[in-house]
């Protein structure tokens, strides 16, 4: 009879279990499983220091005075060196790890803080007795390494954990008294970086033109100053006396300099027929009646280049009181720039003045030579 009773109960139980009406649920006594669990490493290369950013949804949450263990598989090294400053713990605003905004917990040894410490292969995170708990169902973010930049309580972190060798199954196991459990598999590779190389050929372009307005024109380049007068300064303008236009570009890392030298040095414009008669060239501000001749660089229209230090003077197109720089037979910088530039443009103004005693000649002349040099 008893046997029959027991047999009936067993038979009934089997029927109920197979029919799904009775389920012996093993989870009742087992931890809940975290979901949406990820560990994003900063480097996946074998034997390389790496940060870890671990995210998962905790069904249970993390109550006060509970702990969570992150057990790194055997290949990882340096786990035991992790200190609280190397760990950030944050709670997401929702259950979605992808869209949550995270609120950092204060990290430290105080009762109101979360503590963290590494030992052997395990990082243990403990919620203090009066710490703000992690809400059940929220996404939880744990950063370990130099990415633990939050300094609430402690921080920032430094990289401590080194990846193991390739070929093994590398995991981080989540457990602890907080009640949830999980496993995250990560991949350690032989190399996680690709070196990309490219060549850029050297470029250097330079061009001179002369004209009243900007534009291309052919050689020879001539600036006829015409008849000089003691009553006014003759200078480049937009209608009667040409300007000198310099255009260039280079990808040289040291940029490009342009030098200018003249044929007659400080004797400036010299009479071809009477070589002892000349209109000198010296630093100074042009003035009617005072013989002088030289160049300046318009400050308003220069692009790409900078004016050489000596040429940082008052200079405008058709400027009656331009301050010029004396010319020399050895090259001196007129335009400079210490880094690459693609579209350099400068407008160089020619200026000349005479006194009443400047000898009459129709053949005053000088030759300017411009040389562009890039520094690679």
């Amino acid at each position: 009879m008893i046997k029959k009773f027991i047999s009936s109960i067993v038979a009934f139980g089997l029927i109920m279990m197979t029919s799904g009406i009775l389920v012996l649920n093993p989870n009742v006594a087992m931890a809940a499983t975290v979901t949406t669990a990820t560990d994003t490493l900063s480097r996946q290369r074998a034997s390389t220091l790496s940060n870890h950013e671990i995210k998962f949804v905790t069904p249970t949450g993390m109550a006060v005075s509970t702990n969570m263990t992150l057990v790194f598989s055997a290949g990882f090294t340096g786990v035991g060196s992790v200190v609280v400053a190397d760990v950030d713990v944050a709670e997401g605003s929702t259950t979605s790890c992808a869209t949550s905004s995270f609120t950092e917990r204060s990290m430290g040894t105080g009762a109101s803080q979360f503590n963290a410490a590494g030992s052997s292969q395990t990082v243990t995170i403990t919620a203090g007795a009066s710490a703000t708990p992690i809400t059940a169902g929220r996404c939880m973010r744990i950063r370990i390494g130099a990415n633990a930049t939050d300094v609430t309580g402690s921080g920032p972190g430094t990289i401590r954990i080194t990846n193991g060798a390739t070929g093994s199954a590398d995991t981080i196991t989540i457990a602890g008294s907080f009640g949830d459990a999980g496993l995250i598999l990560v991949e350690i590779d032989d190399g996680d970086q690709v070196t990309v190389t490219a060549d850029v050929s050297q470029t250097l372009s330079f061009d001179l033109d002369v004209g009243y307005t900007v534009g291309e024109n052919g050689t020879p380049y001539i600036v006829p100053l015409g008849i000089l007068s003691a009553g006014s300064v003759t200078r480049s303008n937009t209608s009667t006396i040409k300007q000198i236009f310099a255009d260039g570009g280079t990808n040289a890392s040291g940029g490009m300099n342009v030098t200018v030298r003249n044929a007659n040095g400080n004797q400036g414009l010299k009479s071809t027929s009477v070589g002892t008669d000349y209109i000198g060239s010296t630093n100074g501000t042009m003035a009617a009646g005072t013989p002088n001749y030289g160049l300046c660089v318009d400050s308003a229209t220069i692009t790409g280049w900078s004016r050489a230090t000596a040429y940082n003077t008052t200079c405008t197109v058709d400027g009656a009181t331009n301050t010029i720089v004396g010319l020399s037979t050895t090259g001196a910088d007129i335009l400079t720039f210490a880094t690459p530039f693609s579209t350099g443009h400068a407008q160089i103004q020619v200026n000349a003045a005479i006194s009443g005693a400047t000898p009459a000649h129709t053949d005053y002349a000088d030759t300017l030579t411009f040389v562009a040099t890039a520094s690679y």
Partner: protein, 382 residues
Amino acid sequence: MIKKFISSIVTVALILMTSGILVLSPSIAMAVSISSASDTLSRIKQNTASDHTFLFVTPTGLASTQNMTLTFSSDFTGIGSMVGADFDLAEGSTGVCSSATFTEKSVVTSGATTSQFNIVGAGQVVTITSGGVSATLTAGRCIRIKAGLNATNTTGSGPGTHQITNGALDDDDNIVIAGSFGDTGTISVDIIDDDQVSITATVNQTLSFDLDTGTTAGENGPTYTVAFGTLSSSTVKSSGTTAGVNIIFADGATNASGGMNVTIRNANGANGLVSTSVPADKIPNAAATMVAGTANYGLCVSSNGLAGWAKAAGTYAVGTCVANGGTNDVKGLTTTATDILTSTAPISTGHAEIIANAEISGSTPTHTDYTDTLTFIATASF
């Protein structure tokens, strides 16, 4: 047998490589790039002879017997004519080309001693070769190489007499640096249609000349008159405020490269002031110092305010001459023009004060019509 031998060699090599004893290191054969590299040409115009100044930092340096090559792209010509004298090689004191001071090395074409460098061009390549242990370039230093007429240093050889000629207008010109010294680099240069601008100007001729008469300077006239009034044998009359006799002011300017001369001639020559009514009566003119009671008449040029011009040498430049002066040294007048003011260069503000002087003796005939006419002519020499 051969197969077995080769197999053994391969096996041993593999064992050595896998054990780390034998490493085929790619670094051994890799070149290091020069830095801060530039080539400054004296001319960047196409088809034009040019000097070159190379600057660059050599990470490796150049050791004994090593060489360095500078390969000019195909457009450049004349490289094969370059010899040791056409090059200067210098090592900077630092690795900063812009501020280093450079020490020249001894350079020859061939047969370098252990402290010299051979440098010579062939084809498109300039080769610099260390002659030995004392001919080296220090790693990390800026190196300067001059090629052409700018190679003026004569240590070993020099100065340079050959230049390298630029090629045609294009965008593919460069100089490649390589050689056994281990560094490499490329320097691009831009050859353009023209690198020169001619500046021309004209200064027109100018000449101005003006006379005025008065006891003080100022514009007046014409007619220009110097009236001595009544002469006395006891007092020399001279231009100035004392006697109220006009000074003759001459002003002028010219940009004539040969300056401007002013000549004077008078109507009566040595007869000086002649009576219009009785021409035989005169107050003569002779070069002399004016003296009271001695009949004489003439001009001199004061130094007061004299500018631009000089007094004519040998005549008006000699002796005393002041306004209101009683003992001025006057000069002989003639009916042919004679220089009174001269210059040999342009004058912007010429000014001269000409003093007239007259005196009579007790026997000078009385007349109210003693007269002479002075004519001044200014001539510029362009």
